[in-house]
Symmetry: C2
Subunit: 227 residues, 2 copies
DNA sequence: CCAGTAAATGAATGGCGTTCATTTATATCC
DNA sequence: GGATATAAATGAACGCCATTCATTTACTGG
């Protein structure tokens, strides 16, 4: 009898109720799969994360994974939810609103800049199946509300900040010379001059300068919305 | 004798010089490949854009494509560069700076929200091989410079705006109920209340409200940097 | 007319995610 | 305590993918 396909979920809502006999000690579970996937990603990168490699690192046949996970995208969702729990939301309710947003956004960007292949998945998948991600949103929402944000604007502000964070996460992964115009440089003099001028500044990583610039503008702009 | 692999490029720098005899009328070229790819994307989506399908739509064997393109990523770069030319930069130098940025950013987001699978490619690939993309950057850079922007901040500001645009492009594609917490709703009361409150507003698409909110904050914040 | 060469072919390769009939091992019910 | 129900594991497929390469085709400059 074929095993039923599990519903897509980053964390199952506790153990499934048991009707009749079943093995006590299953080799696989979602936590183990998540851990193995994270180890594989950190050692071989996302190109190395294949269902076959994941199964091999767990000492199991690839098809066995499908008893615990509906698809490879479901594995990515498990990983995403694990990472969401690593985003720093502890400043909300402790530090002032602007400092809390700053800490959250920097940490959010740093976590996902190492995991940009997840972004297309996150952006499209409902949060209902990602409890830790949901917990992050809850903390941030409460922080905005307690800071006097009008309730109807909170989600929009978070969505805008998140969009900026995801885009900035990609930017971190870009090669240093991405803006080198090469042989076309003389066709784009203003752009080339601006790129060269920025290169003279030796303060911080360009990607961090850009992130700071945008984030501070967003914090200032959104801060004015508070009642 | 095997044909040489073409260098990755969104548009070759004119026809390759001819040493000896060669056919005058090649069936394929980069323009034709780009056009066929765009048609395929618009009819079948990015899942339907395979090298085999692309070749079939051009009446050619898949391997023939590799005489004109180095890889599938190279095809995506061709498509990206075509789309970059559709982004509206005409307001720079004509309308005031803030209005020009507004037009550019909205148009940039709208174009790429239909082509989010390109974003991971764009974010990593050097602009040297994408002349139309480079032309867009040139127009925007000149607009910032003429508006009195300090030269060392121009690229950072553009990068920040672009990050926001790319993230927002993903947001456009998200399902309407992406923030439905489902059975976990009572665990995240603040978040659920804010989501419900936003749903009461019936003015515009939520994704457009969030984009406008973020973009106006960025424009205001960056506008203050002008000399 | 011959030599040179870009462009097209078609077969082959290796990898991928996923499916499914089957087997294994156990916990509960009678 | 034996029969039963069932979740979990297996291993062999499947279809699709991007890409490679030896070979053929068709043209043109010398």
């Amino acid at each position: 009898m074929p095993a039923p396909t599990p519903a897509p979920s980053a964390t199952s809502a506790g153990p499934v109720r048991r009707r009749a006999g079943r093995p006590t000690a299953a080799i696989l579970d979602q936590d183990g799969i998540t851990t193995a996937a994270l180890e594989l990603i950190s050692s071989k990168g996302y190109d190395g994360l294949t269902m076959a490699a994941l199964a091999r690192s767990l000492g199991v046949a690839p098809s066995a994974l499908y008893n615990h996970v509906a698809s490879k995208d479901d594995v990515l969702l498990l990983v995403e939810d694990h990472l969401a729990a690593m985003v720093d939301v502890t400043a909300f309710g402790v530090e002032p609103w602007d400092a809390a947003v700053r800490r959250w956004a920097w940490s959010y960007r740093d976590v996902f800049s190492e995991h940009t292949p997840l972004i297309p998945v996150i952006a499209v998948l409902p949060v209902a199946n990602a409890p830790k991600t949901l917990a992050m949103y809850e903390a941030v929402t409460a922080g905005f509300r307690d800071a006097g944000f009008p309730e109807e604007k909170i989600i929009s502000a978070i969505v805008a900040l998140e969009a900026f964070v995801f885009g900035a996460a990609y930017d971190v992964t870009a090669p240093d010379d991405i803006f080198d115009a090469g042989s076309l440089a003389d066709r784009v003099p203003n752009f080339t001059a601006a790129v060269d001028r920025l290169a003279l500044e030796r303060h911080a990583r360009p990607t961090d300068v850009a992130f700071s610039l945008g984030l501070e503008a967003l914090i200032t702009g959104f801060g004015a919305l508070r009642g």
